[in-house]
Structures are given as C-alpha cells and as structure tokens.
C-alpha cells in the first residue's frame, strides 16, 4: 500500500504540483511552526512511518492517553471554566468571584498580589506600591475568610496561584474551611506550588531551591493524608512560554520539573502512587493552532510513559496528565485590542481540541491593564460559545488521526525527549536551573521571536502589519485599583496585631522555627496552628526565611 502511495505522491509532485509551482511559487521558501518545527506542504501516511494506532494513540482514558484522559471527555463533563481573578482587597475580589459564579463560571481561581506571593505583609517596606495590584492582598486568615465570604468551600473548587508560600496559603484555606464547618477532606482545588518555574521564569521565589522542594513535598505528604481531593501542585509551563520559550521547550522544561518533584517526593519517602494521582499541570495556549494541539497530546503521552516506565507507578491515575490551560497573555496586543477576542478564541479552541481539563480565557484589554468586568464576561462567553454552540466538544480528540497533527505530535514528543535527556545529563531540573540552562534557552528563544517580529518574518496583525492610526487602546475604560487599598490593608493589619492573642502567636511561631530546623519534620501542622492563631503570612514566611535563607539569582545578561 505504501508503495502505491509513494508512487501516487511522486506522480502528483511531478505532475500537478510541479506545474503549479512553475507558474506561481509559494509565499515562503520554507514553512515552520511558531516554534521552528518544519511543516510539510502536505502530510500523508508517509509522514508517519511505523505508525501504530494502539501503541501511539490508544483509547481515551487508556495509556498513553494521547486522545484524552477520560473515556467520555467533554460528553461526560465539559471542561471547568475558571477565570483567574483577584485585585484590591479581599472584599472586592469576593464580589468579582460572586459575579463570575453568577455568570456561569464553574470554578474559582485566585490571583494574589505580589507581596503575598513573595511572603511580605502589606505593611512591609518592599510592598509599597504593589498592594492589591496584580491580585488580592492576603495577610492573614481573616483576609482569607473575607475572600470566600458566602462561598461554601465544599461546593466550589478553588485554584490558587501561589508558589513560594503555597503551604502557608493552603493552611489558611484549610483554616477558613474549619470556620465554615467544612472538613479538609471535602476541599477540592489546586495550589500551584511549583517553585522550580519561579526560578526559571516567573520570579516569585523566596527560599533557595532545596528547602523550597521540602515545602513542596510537605504539601504532597499532608494532602495525601488529609486533603484527598486536592491537587497538590500545578506543574506549570505557562510562565516559561510567556517568558519566550517555544512549544517544545514548554513541554520539556515542564516535564523535567515534574520529574524533579517526583524524585524529591520519593526521596522524602513517599510512594509514587500516594501522590502521583494528585499532580496536575498548567500549559499555555498560543496561536500556532496545530502545533498547540499537538503539544498537549504529546505532553500527555510523554508523562504517561515517564510515570509508568521511569517511576514504576502502577495506578493508572498516576499516569494521567491532567491540565489547566490559559490563553497566551504575551500574544495580546495593545494595538486594536478588540482583535484580542479573536486571538483568544483560536487559542481556546486549541486548548479544547487538545483535551484540557480547565481553561482560562484572557480578556481583550490585558495588554493595557487588569481586565474590566465587561472584558472578563466576553472572555467567559467565548468559552461558553465553544462549549455549547460550536460542537467541537462533542466528539473526542477530533484532530486525532490527522496526518499533520499526528506527525507534529511525534515531533514535539521527540524534541522534548531530547531536552529531557540533556537535563538528565546535567543532573536533573534543579541542577540545570541552578546552572541557568532552561533560563538561557528561553531567553534565546524570546530574543529570536522579537527579531523575527521586527524583520517582519513573524506577523502580528495591528502591530507590524495592518496598523491603523490612533489604534492604541485604553483610556477611560480600564480597571484601576483603588490606591486606598494599601492604606486600608495596613490599618487592618495593625488592628489584627492589636486584637489577637500575641502570646499564642509568638509560641506558635517559635514551634514552627524549631520544626523548620529539623529537615525530617513536617511543616504543615505547625503552620496551620500558627495561622489559626492569626499569625500573618509575613510572620510565618519570616520565620522560614530565618531558617532557610533567601534565594539569590545567578547574575547574568
């Protein structure tokens, strides 16, 4: 059959194709994906030598999960529509959460401000100007209670983008649930808790890598015994992609970090199947449509093999790569911002055809500021239109079997594997990050993309082609964070420090300090005790800073 196909293809190339090329060439000499993978003019079965349906694709819900992790996928349950939100005070963000739930959103996703993300209270000098800006300011369990006021924690799933102090913030969430009368075992949601990509790309680290890995695995351990429905980590490629990585690098560096977390947890004495099913992932959905679909499929197949074959996991749930997706913030343009609605739609479609479990769609005004309520509603409606009107969710993995998509899936898998081998040779992800390897690779890709854009080899509509005069968006319709938030947050902290039982806080923090000095001891219990007494995030992180020290990035550029 292949012989017949080869002959037919050659006849076509020498016949119709050659004639057309002789009359008129093509737009470019060579076609590539956004990540530089070569694109054939036409893919046929000849581009999939040795293809085995059963081994490479299988069936949904079966190893290697190329076609999806659930046997019924979106027919059984559509993806979770989860818009990342947070700004200003806990009360303001609580209002945005309730608005989103009223509009049909099905899960919550908390954005914290930068002081919270790096473990400083709102009255710290380094917090000046940043309080409530990129997310909500959370200093204590009282703020956390206000954030979820009127939202029963046994009825929603909550994702929290928090990393260096993830353990502390999760402890606060558990404490709020206790106040609501909800047992920890009933909580469902996710903490990002992915410190490694903070060193690579996102920057909200506090402690050096090794004690940070202890905090990460402590969360795995505590949750395996107390929060069985909780996703203990969201191993994130999103931010590395935003920082400029290619699709292949996104998959490779994310899975390399995943391998490092599994290694660390096993070294801490945990069985791979005790925490493997609660690992989750977070990817970016960029604009190069087929490459993105292939990326998600390749990542699923790779992780299944890593967990089963490299780590010997036996529970099929440990093999499943479950992931959240967010559309690509870095592709949004400040010029003609309404065009961003179209970009987001394409990217969201790629995520759905790639089999995502949950999705955040960006808002059109995010190259200018945090999104307004109107913009967020359009972004959420985009998901609802995809789910309910387009029919794309009704048949599983509809691009499976496409010669192009299957060959791209193979290419992404093979190139990512080559990176994984290089990272193994460097001693694993932690050692590679300490040497700056993924960072350098990402910086190079980011610069290359910018040069291609400036040379016009990479087109961005409204930016380097089809510009219109006066097309910079923004102005009166942007969201402004009330500058009084910072002052009010400081006043609240002062009141909290006056009213709480200072003696109990001091004792709880002293216990935490002692436990932190014992490398084999679990930290979750003592942190939970401290936050119940209303110790602040900054105080808890301060104790850990004293014991663990702080991360100093390698100097470069």
């Amino acid at each position: 059959m292949d012989d017949a196909l080869c002959q037919a293809k050659r006849a076509w190339e020498e016949g119709e194709l050659a004639k057309t090329l002789a009359r008129a060439g093509e737009g470019k000499e060579q076609y590539q994906t956004a990540s530089g993978l070569t694109l054939e003019r036409l893919c046929t079965p000849l581009d999939l030598p040795g293809f085995s349906y059963v081994d490479e694709l299988g069936f949904p819900g079966q190893f290697p999960f190329t076609r999806g992790i659930q046997p019924t996928m979106y027919r059984g349950r559509t993806w979770t529509m989860r818009q990342y939100a947070g700004f200003g005070s806990a009360e303001e963000t609580n209002r945005r959460f309730r608005y989103l739930l009223e509009q049909g959103q099905t899960g919550l996703s908390v954005a914290f401000d930068l002081p919270t993300q790096v473990g400083y209270d709102s009255d710290h000098s380094l917090a000046e100007g940043e309080v409530g800006k990129v997310g909500v300011a959370i200093d204590s369990v009282d703020d956390m209670a206000a954030l979820f006021e009127g939202i029963p924690l046994d009825k929603v799933s909550t994702s929290m983008t928090i990393n260096a102090p993830a353990l502390v913030v999760l402890a606060m969430y558990v404490a709020v649930a206790e106040r609501q009368g909800v047992p920890a075992a009933k909580l469902s949601g996710t903490v990002q808790n992915d410190i490694l990509k903070e060193y690579v790309a996102r920057g909200t680290y506090i402690f050096p890598p090794r004690p940070s890995m202890r905090l990460v695995t402590d969360v795995f351990h505590y949750c395996s015994e107390n929060l069985p429905e909780w996703n203990t980590i969201s191993i994130s490629g999103y931010h590395m992609r935003e920082a400029g990585s290619t699709a292949v690098q996104e998959v490779a560096f994310t899975l390399a970090n995943g391998i490092a977390y599994v290694d660390a947890a096993r070294q801490a004495g945990l069985d791979v199947d005790s925490f493997g099913p609660r690992l989750s992932f977070f990817f970016n959905a960029h604009s190069d449509f087929f490459e993105e679909v292939a990326k998600f499929r390749a990542a699923r197949r790779l992780w299944a093999k890593i967990m089963r074959d490299r780590f010997g996991a036996r529970n099929p749930r440990s093999w499943m790569l479950r992931f959240h997706t967010q559309t690509a913030g870095s592709t949004l343009t400040a010029q003609q911002p309404d065009n961003n609605v179209v970009r987001v739609t394409l990217q969201a479609l790629a995520a759905v055809l790639g089999g995502t479990q949950s999705l955040h769609t960006n808002s059109r005004d995010e190259a200018l500021a945090l999104p307004t309520e109107d913009s967020v509603r359009i972004a959420l409606r985009t998901q609802q239109i995809l789910a309910l009107e387009s029919g794309v969710a009704d048949s599983i993995d509809p691009l499976g079997g496409s010669y192009l998509v299957e060959s791209l899936t193979r290419k992404v898998e093979q190139e990512a594997l080559a990176y994984l081998e290089r990272i193994d040779a460097l001693g694993g992800a932690v050692a590679a990050i300490e040497r700056g390897f993924p960072q350098d690779e990402i910086h190079r890709s980011a610069y290359r993309a910018q040069i291609e854009l400036e040379r016009g080899e990479r087109k961005v509509v409204g930016v380097n082609c089809f510009r219109t005069a006066g097309d910079e968006g923004g102005g009166e319709d942007l969201l402004r964070v009330d500058p009084a938030v910072e002052r009010r947050q400081r006043e609240r902290l002062a009141a909290l420090r006056r009213e709480r039982d200072g003696q109990a806080v001091a004792e709880a923090l002293a216990v935490l300090g002692r436990v932190a000095r014992d490398p084999g001891a679990g930290l979750f219990g003592p942190v939970l005790a401290a936050v119940r007494h209303r110790a602040t995030l900054g105080e808890v992180c301060g104790v850990l800073r004293d014991v663990f020290g702080e991360f100093e990035p390698p100097s470069d550029v």
Partner: protein
Amino acid sequence: MGGKRPIRVLIAKPGLDGHDRGARVVARGLRDAGMEVIYTGIRQTPDRIAQAALQEDVDVVGLSSLSGAHGHLFTRVVTALRERGLDRVLVVAGGIIPGEDHGSLREAGIEAVFTPGATIREIVAFIAERVGRESGE
C-alpha cells in the same frame, strides 16, 4: 572609536514584579545596537537602582514594570537619581502602562514610555537621539 565612549544603559526592574522578558529582550537589543548595557535583575529597590546608575556611570536608565506599581516606583527611582545628582541621566520606561498614566510619568521625569508592540529599533533610535551620540561609535 572617535574618542567617544558607547552609550551606557542600566535596565532595571523596580518592585516585586518578576516578568522580565521585555527587560531582557530590550537589554540584548540595545547591546546588539552597540550600547553597553547592565541589567539589574528583578526585585530592585529604587535606591539600589539609583546607586547602580551612579556606580556604573550610565547615560540612560530604562525601567520596566508589568505589575501596575509604575506610578509609585518609577517616580521614586527618579527622585533617588536626582538625590545623587544624576540630573542628566535619561530615564525611559516600559511595561503594562495605561496610556492615561503616560502624562504624569512624563511630568515626573520619565521621558518616554514604551508599551507592548514597541520595537527595539524605535527604542534605540529614541535613546541615540536623546543622548546625542551615535551608539557604538
């Protein structure tokens, strides 16, 4: 060399924002255009940035923030530069900065604000013109 030194630029990230793709791309672009560039890394205080500008004897300070704290932080950097007598240093900025803030930043001494979509070419041209020297001479 024409007796003139290349334009020296400090690229800095004030505040807690960790997004430095733009800062790094611009740093590298300016270097490829013949300028001498120092990048501070993330999480710098206004005082540390001004101190680095003084020590490195730079002609230009480029500030980047995507966190919305630009109003507070950029102004503080300009003040810290002035306190050290660095009145002639050209200060420019980039990041997620709404158009309605550009006017107040200019009044505070930030001479240009480059937002998403700005090219290295236009940033190089602006700096070269303002500093009044051809880069890389």
